[in-house]
């Protein structure tokens, strides 16, 4: 797990000012983020169902983006807690694509290895591995591999449920694979070379 000595959200002093940060995040976000339009009203933070688990409310993260607090933002657990419920998006008076910004922050945190808990990032990566391998998601493989690594104890408690899913035919132990794997691979390989630059 990556270590960073700076923990800006523990001090009242801003120690980093990366003023291009906001623009960078905006650029790397799908669609037109409208991030620069945020008026700090807090309708996002107010809307968030799992807010109680978050280091920062989304609004606060956006303020920190403006303040250029790169590490603090990318270390925040907020994007990883986001459940993609889009309540904030439809309520935002400025049409900020909040959920998509959260995705962007995750990908940046992964690229820069800034996240502080590996559970979520690695779950995503496992999921993606499956998809890149088979072209379809593979719940059984995903669950087992994930729990083995991150919650071996939970695996036990979950097994009853998992068993239920298996016996009721709601989970298969063999992955489905699409015909066009080579094509998909070609597409994804190409895609990985590309970056949103404008």
């Amino acid at each position: 797990m990556p270590q960073t000595d700076i923990q800006p959200f523990r001090t009242a002093l801003i120690q980093e000012e990366d003023l291009s940060l906001l623009e960078e995040v905006s650029m790397k976000t799908a669609g037109v983020s409208h991030l620069e339009m945020c008026i700090q009203c807090g309708s996002c933070g107010g809307s968030c169902p799992p807010a109680e688990e978050m280091d920062h409310t989304p609004r606060m993260l956006f303020a920190m983006l403006r303040a250029g607090m790169r590490d603090a933002v990318l270390q925040s657990n907020t994007p990883w807690i986001c459940v993609s419920c889009y309540h904030c998006v439809v309520r935002c008076p400025q049409n900020v694509h909040i959920t998509d910004v959260m995705y962007t922050l995750k990908s940046m945190a992964i690229r820069e290895k800034k996240y502080r808990d590996a559970t979520a990032p690695e779950f995503s990566e496992t999921f993606v591995d499956m998809v890149e391998k088979y072209g379809r998601s593979f719940e059984f493989g995903l669950a087992t591999r994930h729990y083995l690594k991150h919650a071996p104890l939970r695996l036990v408690s979950m097994s009853t449920m998992g068993l239920g899913m298996l016996t009721k035919g709601r989970m298969s132990i063999t992955p489905k694979k699409i015909k066009g794997m080579p094509q998909l691979k070609a597409i994804l390989d190409k895609a990985k070379e590309l970056e949103l630059t404008s």
């Binding site: 933070g45 107010g46 309540h87 309520r91």
Partner: protein, 670 residues
């Protein structure tokens, strides 16, 4: 460009304005000047000058001097839009003895320097625009401005506080006013309010005297329960048709005793005056101090009109004033000026579904609360929950509902902060409840407004800076059971909060009237994409419109508080009085006329004029245009297959020449 060959070309002067640096920073003004003198010399340009501010008195004198000394016969000023300074420079020419209509403005600011960046390209375009103006002005003809007398009467549309104010100002100056209001009584939104911020004086106490004055003023003719259906004519001479909806009450006989209302057996929800919070009879006066005092029968809900029986009101009326046979009637009035004070609609709070209005009983709108807190309202001034009895112990007031939100209305409704503070005060005063105010930004800019904010702070209202995310009845724990929970981020604490309350008040914003677009067409005034009427100039001419003789006042142009609306009403009145005192208006002499020799009487133009200015002489089999009715649109000019119709100011010759000028560079290249 051989049209002029033979006959000698008139002497043209070209004046290029720097407009400080507004033009010169993107257009090489000197180059344009030099080019005009050289290249356009062949077209008749004898002098070209450039100057820092052509519109300044010195700039104008420059032109006057040249007209006199160089005997200029045409003038082109390359500067800003003709809508700003056409009159200025026509004036200059006139003073120097040149017919004002032989002067043209070439807009190289709005159409060139302000909208382009590349200086070289902009300069070339500027030249083209100037060339166009020069070729055009050569074809201009001297015209005489048309003067028409102004009818001294005025129409005021909308009987809210702005309209009442305007009407009184004009009436007190001794001129007749028709005050049209579509509701049964004048008074408008203000009549619904209890207290007014920041002074907290009672709305009724300050409004009703004005209403009464308007209702009894010898110079004011009230046309309530009426709507304007048609407007014809132009400044000074409007012909307006007003539809008077049937009251089913003979106002000559009615004494306003109110027995009919008392006896009427049927109650319906009052969506207008009581904002849906209370009931009224089917025959009703909206409120006690209504002006005029005569009641109205709400036919669609009236048992007699539905079932053919009842007539309770008729039976009990001591003066036999009830008249079920009344039909709507149309009256035509002549006025010289019109003031539109048509006001606003309130935002429909049900659209913000996350605030639960319409689904959660104890979520109220600001207007509902106004009625509730009003001693004359449905609860007699008691602040209670939807059950009609329980007093709230905690109240949440939410700002900016439907305002400052791209999902609804982008703009700030400007009164909500103050009205919310007022509510906080009233709730505290009447119930002692705990009050929360949820705001994004506290906006208290006018006189004594921030002081009021201070006062409410003192009173212990709890302010939370954050746009409320949702109001829900889905409790998460006992503390929240049976309450409305306001979920919000306290942006100052940086934490999400769930605050259980008994009552929620939504401070809903203002919207343009739902029929603002129709109204704007009816009166020919501009209407923004939002629906607010457009001022002639947002700063310097806020009560005039692009249509001469039609003024605007109050919330019809955008959200305003009472002082601002009153001020605008008075300002619009001043504008009208100024016109009336001038006794006559000057009209642009842009008119079409038909060459009787060339007209073949084919009658193709006859169907084209919406102002019925074209008449056909059966005897001579030719059409003719009535200059008084012609508005100068030029549609018939463009339509005449025989080329028999010509239009002053925008003649074919002028426009074709302008095209040649605009394309001069293109053709020089060939």
């Amino acid at each position: 460009m051989s049209a002029e060959s033979g006959s000698k070309k008139p002497r043209v002067g070209v004046y290029v304005c720097h407009c400080g640096t507004n033009i010169s920073h993107t257009v090489d003004v000197e180059q344009v000047r030099e080019w005009a003198e050289k290249t356009l010399g062949a077209e008749g340009v004898v002098i070209a000058r450039d100057y820092k501010f052509m519109c300044s008195s010195l700039g104008q004198e420059l032109i006057e001097k040249d007209i006199k000394e160089l005997g200029l016969e045409r003038v082109v000023v390359a500067a800003c839009s003709p809508h700003l300074h056409e009159l200025t420079f026509r004036g200059a020419s006139k003073r120097a003895g040149l017919n004002p209509y032989l002067t043209e403005l070439a807009s190289i600011r709005e159409q060139v320097s302000w909208v382009h960046t590349d200086k070289a390209v902009a300069t070339e375009k500027a030249k083209a625009v100037v060339a166009g103006a020069v070729e055009r002005v050569i074809k201009n003809e001297p015209l005489e401005e048309i003067r028409v007398p102004i009818h001294p009467d005025t129409l005021v549309v909308g009987g809210g506080i702005a309209g009442i104010q305007a009407a009184l100002e004009i009436a007190n100056a001794g001129f007749k006013v028709y005050l049209v209001e579509r509701e049964p009584s004048i008074g408008g939104h203000m009549a619904q309010f209890d207290k007014t911020f920041p002074t907290l004086d009672c709305a009724a106490c300050i409004l009703t005297p004005r209403m009464f004055e308007a209702g009894t003023h010898p110079n004011i003719e009230l046309l309530t329960w009426s709507e304007v259906t048609h407007v014809a004519g132009y400044v000074g001479n409007f012909t307006v048709t007003v539809k008077k909806k049937p009251r089913y009450v003979n106002t000559d006989l009615c004494t306003g005793c109110g027995i009919c209302v008392e006896k009427c057996p049927k109650k319906v929800v009052d969506d207008v005056y009581e904002a849906g919070l209370g009931y009224r009879k089917v025959v009703y006066t909206p409120f006690a101090q209504a002006v005029p005092k005569y009641p109205v029968i709400d036919a669609p809900n009236c048992t007699y009109f539905q079932k053919g029986t009842c007539k309770a009101c008729e039976k009990f009326c001591p003066t036999n004033a009830i008249d079920f046979t009344q039909k709507e009637e149309y009256v035509t009035i002549q006025v010289g000026n019109i003031i539109l004070a048509t006001g606003y609609d309130l935002f429909d709070a049900r659209r913000v579904s996350n605030y639960g209005y319409g689904r959660l009983a104890n979520v109220f709108t600001s207007i509902e609360f106004e009625r509730m807190s009003n001693a004359a309202g449905p609860t007699g001034g008691n602040i209670v929950l939807r059950d009609g009895k329980t007093q709230p112990k905690t109240v949440g007031i939410i700002h900016c509902v439907g305002s400052r939100d791209k999902n609804y209305n982008n703009y700030c409704s400007s009164i909500c902060c103050m009205q919310s503070l007022k509510f906080a005060h009233l709730v505290k005063e009447r119930t002692g409840a705990t009050v929360y105010e949820f705001y994004i930004d506290m906006r208290t800019p006018m006189k004594a407004y921030d002081e009021f904010y201070q006062r409410v702070l003192e009173e212990g209202t709890l302010f939370v800076r954050g746009k409320v995310a949702q109001v829900t009845n889905a409790a998460r724990n006992e503390r929240e059971e049976g309450k409305l929970i306001i979920q919000v981020e306290d942006t100052l604490a940086g934490k999400q909060r769930r605050i259980p309350v008994d009552m929620v008040i939504l401070s809903i914003g203002m919207e343009p009237r739902h029929d603002a677009k129709e109204t704007s067409h009816l009166f020919g005034v501009g209407c923004s994409s939002d629906g607010w009427f457009i001022e002639k100039h947002p700063k310097l001419d806020p009560v005039s419109t692009m249509t001469e003789g039609v003024m605007i006042a109050g919330c019809a142009t955008g959200p305003k508080d009472i002082p601002a609306s009153v001020a605008q009403g008075a300002a619009a009145a001043a504008r009208v009085l100024n016109k009336i005192m001038q006794k006559e208006v000057v009209l642009e002499p842009i008119k079409a006329s038909i060459d009787q020799e060339k007209c073949s009487g084919c009658r193709i133009c006859n169907g084209l004029c919406p102002f019925n200015a074209i008449l056909f002489h059966e005897d001579r089999m030719v059409s003719e245009i009535n200059p008084a009715l012609c508005q100068g649109c030029g549609t018939c000019v463009a339509a005449c297959p025989a080329g028999a119709i010509s239009g002053t100011g925008f003649s074919n010759e002028q426009i074709l020449a302008q095209i040649d000028g605009l394309l001069m560079d293109v053709n020089l290249a060939v």
